[in-house]
């Protein structure tokens, strides 16, 4: 019989990895409402106002994370350094966890609100995108699919959310390592894919690195150089050190050039201001149905309308976004200032608000995750050493830090004159001893 066998393996074209493969059961997860919604959530919020190519969505990123997580998993398991997973003791079902890992990678972003991180603060109460992801993983729609795939939703959530799991506070070595394959700060598939993909779409070439070589050399290694510790971590063979350096440099450059571009950041602030005015009670819905009904499309349609009608809520912020009339940079972080006053931006912002009015000044000081440049490296003679001992490059990669004050465009000239006259005094006074409260 020809032509009657139902195709079980499917391939999806991808600009970074050429093809991404999945089977029919996995495709049910891809076709679920929470994952399909990611076609309508921009990966980089309003970054396309600065880098016009940045119109890609979380959907293709999620597929990419699944592909890379699978490659990392295969490479790590094939390397033989798997004692930590209990494979040799028969405690670990490698194929089961491969399936769980792939699905966890595919759904790791399903809880994101419109425009992803830009609007994270607008979830109600203690809710955040990780809590929403957990609720969606445990939803009736997804539970039915997990049953068909013969995997537990609890295991999917553990690996997808890792250390950010809202309920789980204890992790075994295996859980920690497998979730780090997806979400890890050093060699997680999430990070690798967003650097490669964002670089590709924005045209910012700094994000590229040799991920083929890096993945081939990844190993699970104990950090024995720390007083004989047996704590396992994702590390590299010495031959992969340069590709690991390239990844961490790519991260530094991409954060400096793209993710923390000051104009991109001010659009996040204007977007949040619009959403606070537009959303009921200034917050996203706290239920999964409400979240699934909301995408970037609804928000952009609202922004477009509000930009043309001064009577609609959020008109001012919407008009700034649509007409690209954003607030302008008044002050950016300067190493000399940091030595005098660590919160120089806050000091300038506080006084600028008194002089120009709070409504005309904005301050941006985002929290930045550690770059995790320290990891184990396996030498040719089987010794394990710290990456920082081996690599001058890693020792000197700076941590990214942002501290920016913006001002209304019509006040920019006056603001600059004022700052030139008062800058030193403000920064000096900002470094006085603080009372304990």
């Amino acid at each position: 019989m020809r032509g009657t066998a139902k195709k079980n393996n499917h391939e999806i074209r991808d600009p970074i990895y050429a093809f991404i493969h999945m089977n029919s059961s996995e495709r049910e997860v891809l076709n679920s409402a929470p994952v399909q919604r990611l076609r309508h959530i921009h990966q980089l919020a309003l970054t396309s106002l600065v880098y016009p190519g940045a119109t890609h969505r979380r959907f293709e990123h999620s597929l990419g994370v699944m592909e890379l997580a699978t490659r990392i998993y295969n490479a790590v398991l094939e390397s033989g350094e798997t004692e930590i997973l209990g494979i040799d003791r028969g405690e670990y079902d490698g194929m089961y966890y491969r399936r769980v890992l792939r699905m966890a990678a595919l759904i790791h972003d399903i809880g994101h609100a419109p425009f992803s991180h830009a609007s994270e603060d607008l979830f109600p109460g203690d809710c955040n995108h990780e809590a929403m992801t957990l609720r969606l993983i445990e939803s009736d729609e997804m539970e039915k699919i997990w049953v068909k795939l013969k995997i537990q939703s609890e295991d999917v959530a553990k690996l997808a959310l890792g250390r950010n799991h809202p309920k789980k506070k204890t992790f075994s070595n295996t859980e920690a390592i497998l979730s780090e394959i997806i979400t890890g700060d050093a060699f997680g598939a999430d990070r690798m894919d967003y650097l490669l993909r964002d670089s590709h779409h924005t045209g910012v070439a700094y994000g590229r690195f040799d991920h083929y070589r890096l993945i081939e050399t990844l190993r699970i290694l104990p950090k024995t150089y720390e007083g004989g510790s047996k704590e396992p971590a994702l590390g590299v063979e010495s031959g992969g050190l340069q590709s690991a350096e390239a990844l961490l440099l790519a991260r530094y450059f991409m954060f400096s050039q793209l993710y923390f571009h000051p104009v991109r950041r001010i659009y996040d602030i204007h977007l949040k201001e619009y959403l606070q005015a537009w959303l009921l009670g200034g917050r996203f819905p706290g239920d999964v149905t409400g979240l699934l009904n909301l995408t970037d499309n609804e928000v952009m349609a609202g922004i477009w309308r509000a930009s043309r009608d001064p009577d609609l809520p959020g008109h001012d912020a919407a008009e700034r976004i649509v007409m690209r009339n954003h607030y302008r940079v008044l002050y950016t972080r300067n190493p000399d200032d940091v030595l005098k006053c660590r919160e120089a931006g806050l000091a300038i912002y506080t006084v600028a608000c008194e002089v120009f009015g709070e409504e005309n000044v904005r301050h941006d000081r985002p929290k930045v995750s550690a770059s995790q440049v320290a990891f184990p490296v396996l030498e040719l003679d089987e010794r394990i050493v710290s990456s920082l001992l081996k690599s001058d490059v890693l020792r000197h990669i700076p941590e990214v830090a942002v501290d920016t004050v913006y001002i209304h465009p019509e006040l920019l000239d006056a603001g600059r004159v004022w700052l030139n006259e008062n800058r030193e005094n403000i920064i000096e006074s900002g470094s006085e001893p603080e009372d304990m409260t």
Binding site: F171, N173, A176, Y225, G228, L339, R342
Partner: protein
């Protein structure tokens, strides 16, 4: 607690650990900070999870990176058997000068923990901090039950090692009592 006070206390902790002979890797700082919060009651506000080898705060890890970005800390790379150490800088001395009241209140507690941790290795710190985690998980539980819970959570720790770690934590609680009382009175 304000960030400046929290970071001032972290700088003091690193200085104290160093003065008590610790090579002061991130694991030492992580576990000592956990004790400051979970045993001594200093409200530093770093959330901890029981990770691969004991309590770990990713927020604290990010905070240490932020302190490096602001020249308050720097790497000191040491060969085996030591790992990557963090040391304070001239800038961090200035930070401490800005939080005299916080330091006056919490210095005895910091010194107490640093004195207990200064000469201990990473493997020891992993065990005793897990023992404190398990102790706080269900206060009042006996030594044997806590030790079994440790081996259940962290199978690489033997029952004897777990019992030893629990006894150490119980003894440390007893010795810490006057220091904790002093913090409450100031």
């Amino acid at each position: 607690m304000k960030q400046i006070q929290r970071d001032g206390l972290l700088v003091e902790l690193i200085d104290e650990l160093t003065s008590y002979g610790s090579w002061c890797g991130e694991t030492h700082i992580q576990k000592a900070t956990y004790f400051l919060e979970a045993m001594m009651g200093i409200p530093l506000g770093f959330p901890y999870v029981l990770y691969k080898h004991g309590p770990f705060s990713f927020d604290l890890s990010d905070e240490l990176a932020s302190m490096r970005a602001d020249a308050l800390l720097e790497w000191e790379i040491k060969p085996e058997p030591y790992g990557n150490a963090l040391k304070t800088t001239n800038v961090s001395a200035g930070l401490k000068a800005r939080v005299p009241r916080a330091l006056a209140r919490y210095r005895p507690a910091i010194s107490f923990v640093a004195g207990k941790f200064g000469t201990r290795g990473v493997k020891d710190l992993e065990k005793i901090s897990t023992a404190l985690y398990v102790t706080n998980e269900a206060p009042g539980r006996g030594c044997e039950a806590r030790a079994r819970r440790i081996t259940e959570l962290k199978p690489h720790i033997t029952l004897d090692e777990a019992k030893e770690a629990v006894s150490f934590v119980d003894e440390m609680f007893r010795e810490a009592e006057p220091v904790i009382r002093e913090i409450g009175e100031t």
